[in-house]
Amino acid sequence: MKQEGILRHAATRLLGLIPTLLVLITIAFFLIRVAPGGPFDSEKALPPEIRANLDAKYHLDEPLLQQYFRYLGQIISGDFGPSFQYKDWSVNELIAQGFPVSATLGGLAMLLAFVIGSLVGIAAALRQNSAADYSIMGVAMLGISIPNFVVAPLLILGVAVYAGWLPAGGWDWSWQRMVLPVVTLALPVIAYIARLMRGSMIEVLHSNFIRTARAKGLPERVVIRRHALKPAILPVISYMGPATAALITGSVVIERIYSIPGLGSYFVQGALNRDYTLVMGVVVFYGVVIIVLNFIVDLLYAWLNPRIRYDETQ
């Protein structure tokens, strides 16, 4: 019964994705077109003949609505079209190349952040208001407040340039090149999760049913594991949905500083270059990723919280 409820819930949510995406596509399409300048503007002016040829080649000479419906037609067949900027590649290819990189880095960073952040947060919560707690939270505060464009160069300088342990940047799918970007990506998230986890753990530990669990005579580690962990992790889970989406879709700063071929730069470069198809492709792709991740978070929530599960079957 409960399984059915979840499935039905899933199906509804997935259907709801279509209008959301349509709205997203429409807004994004017209928004990027409203932006001043076009994909072929540069400080070197193009002779009008060449400009006309380019516009014709990319259908920019058609009325905007016609372009819109042409684009919708393309998307329905799963084709994001050719990139205006990276002419040798289609947007599908660029995303197919960039996303695995960003997803790997972001996924690893999130995993690292989740494990370390949760452990640190729990450790701090169990020693609430001790020197250890203040130290951990102090460091976490630093982690949140130091921007990654400061951390990343420091890491490169220390680990790559002076120590020579790891490469300074670049990408070849080897773990050596993943370490620094993953750590840089994870640091603020570790800090954030640690604070979140500490806060919610402290709150849960003060709740009545934990007092009950202790009174039952459970060893403290069982109290934490069996009773406190799940409710304490709920805020972390709901934070992780959008945070994971942000991480796995790539970070422009990280990609620039570590020279990583992820998805993030395509979005920014695409927007700056008015590479309409690339921007649209990445936006739609982001949209799908975010919707899917929120959906996963929903399912996790249902799994962690029987009250929600119950309500859904009503």
Partner: protein, 603 residues
Amino acid sequence: MTRWKPIWVFAVACLAGLAACGDRDSDVGGPISRRPEPVEMVLLEDGQPDRAVLADQQVVRRGNGEEPATLDPHLAIGVPAAHILRDLFEGLTSESADGDVIPGVALRWNISRDARTYTFYLRRDLTWSNGDPLKAEDFVYSLRRAADPATAANAARMLLPILNAREVLAGELPVEELGVSLLDEYSLQITLTGPTPYFLGLLTNPIAYPVNRRNIEEFGEQFSRPGNLVSNGAYVLSDWVPRVEVVLEKNPAFREADRTIVERVHYYPVEDHSTEVKAFRAGEIDWTNEVPNNQFRWLQKNYPDELVVSPWMGSYFLGFNLTREPFIDNPSLRMALVLAIDRQILADKVAQFGEQPSFSLVPPGMDGYVPFVPEYADWTQEERNHEARRLFEQAGYSEERPLRVEIRYNTSENHKKMALAVASMWKQVLGVNTTLVNEEFRVFLQNREQKVVTQVFRAGWVSDYNDPYSFLELFRTGHGRNDYGYSNSTFDALLDEIGTERVRARRERLMFEAERVLMIDNVIVPIYTYVTKRLVSRQLRGWQNNVMDHHQTRHMFKLRLRGDPAAEPAAPEQPDEPVSAEEPPQAAAEEPAPEGEPEGQEP
């Protein structure tokens, strides 16, 4: 409490580290002293290096700025793609290490008396990397493809000197009408609309490279992918992972393969200058595309042998919008603003990289041209300020009635610094109140073009080819990039004359005269001329500075390191390098004029 001491120590160390580093990550000594030394270079009589001094691994790793947009030579735009394409392809003409135009696929050429017809005679027995013979018809096919409206090549504007190119691009004439004709298997003729002294230089540009017809017909739009691309240059495309690297391998079929020493080139798209420098310092690249502006002094001190700064054919200046208040019909005011800035300080303290203060439009060193120098260039800044104040008052402004003006620039730290410095000089000398406005690049370009909201704006130009005309033509009435709204019939007439003049000395005089007219009209505030700046490993030799900043890998080689164990024992002397017998009989009949790079934007 004691248990947690390390955490405190760590936290404090983090803070201290942050405070110490600030935005410059270039402080501590680092591994400078243990940087390995290359051996002394030894050149043989033919100019080739002695094998004994060469490193075993001839692999060059070049930082290359942004990801190349495409490796289709005709569609390519931007400097990064051009760097790679110069290694992959060779046009009718080519360039020596110092940037001179030399014979490429064409062994020699004739230029008609009216300087409008070029006949090229190709080397025989040349082949493509796939073994196909390389013939004159390849060039005819390729030039037509480049001009074909269906190709929609941005860079096709460089073909406009060719007869009927404009009509072909506009779709008014079929591509067959392009002024390019096949004479026989190994010769072709190109007809121009007028004398174009820089035409041989234009031919070194990717837009004029040959592409293999079979290759394109087989793979269509995907012909430029690794594994597909057939090329005729010193290297072939071996691998390309977007935004990771482009790898080229030596092309054994290249006509000078036996004189090409570097076996493999990696081009890394490193967008961030600091990252690039760090990769260089970590020994991961041999050649950076750039260095960050704020690290000049540190690099000068710590990497004096590696830091290479060289003049570039670009100018940095501010433009006046002549179609709007306060600059319309107000030459005194413009002159006052031009005079009131101290270019020496701007170049030394703001630009900081050895840029030369400039008093004119055309940078020095362009194909022998000596730019116009206004009278005030010889004055002291004090004298200039004095004159500026006089003109300022003459224009009707004073302490009581100060000028309010706006400098607009595209968002960038460097442009901002420059605009701030200029604004403060105007304030100090003339009491001008300046507002700074920054805009995203394309918004900025559009505003410039529309000439409605702009007053003073950042401008600048890096030439397409080694000819002053490319700077001057920007100011022609109705030119697509004439964002100044400048229109002077004398100036336009001079440009027309330059277009038809085939005697070099007379043409230069006309250009000088045009520049003089322009500078007297005070359309721009000249500031400085560009330099290229990069780090190059001391192991990497064979390249030379040139104003175009063109550096083909085939001219380069890598020296052995001192103490490299392989260096001492085995040094099998093999001085039997074949001396290139074929010398160009009449190459330099007309002055060579290598091309330049597209993209003057956002240096």
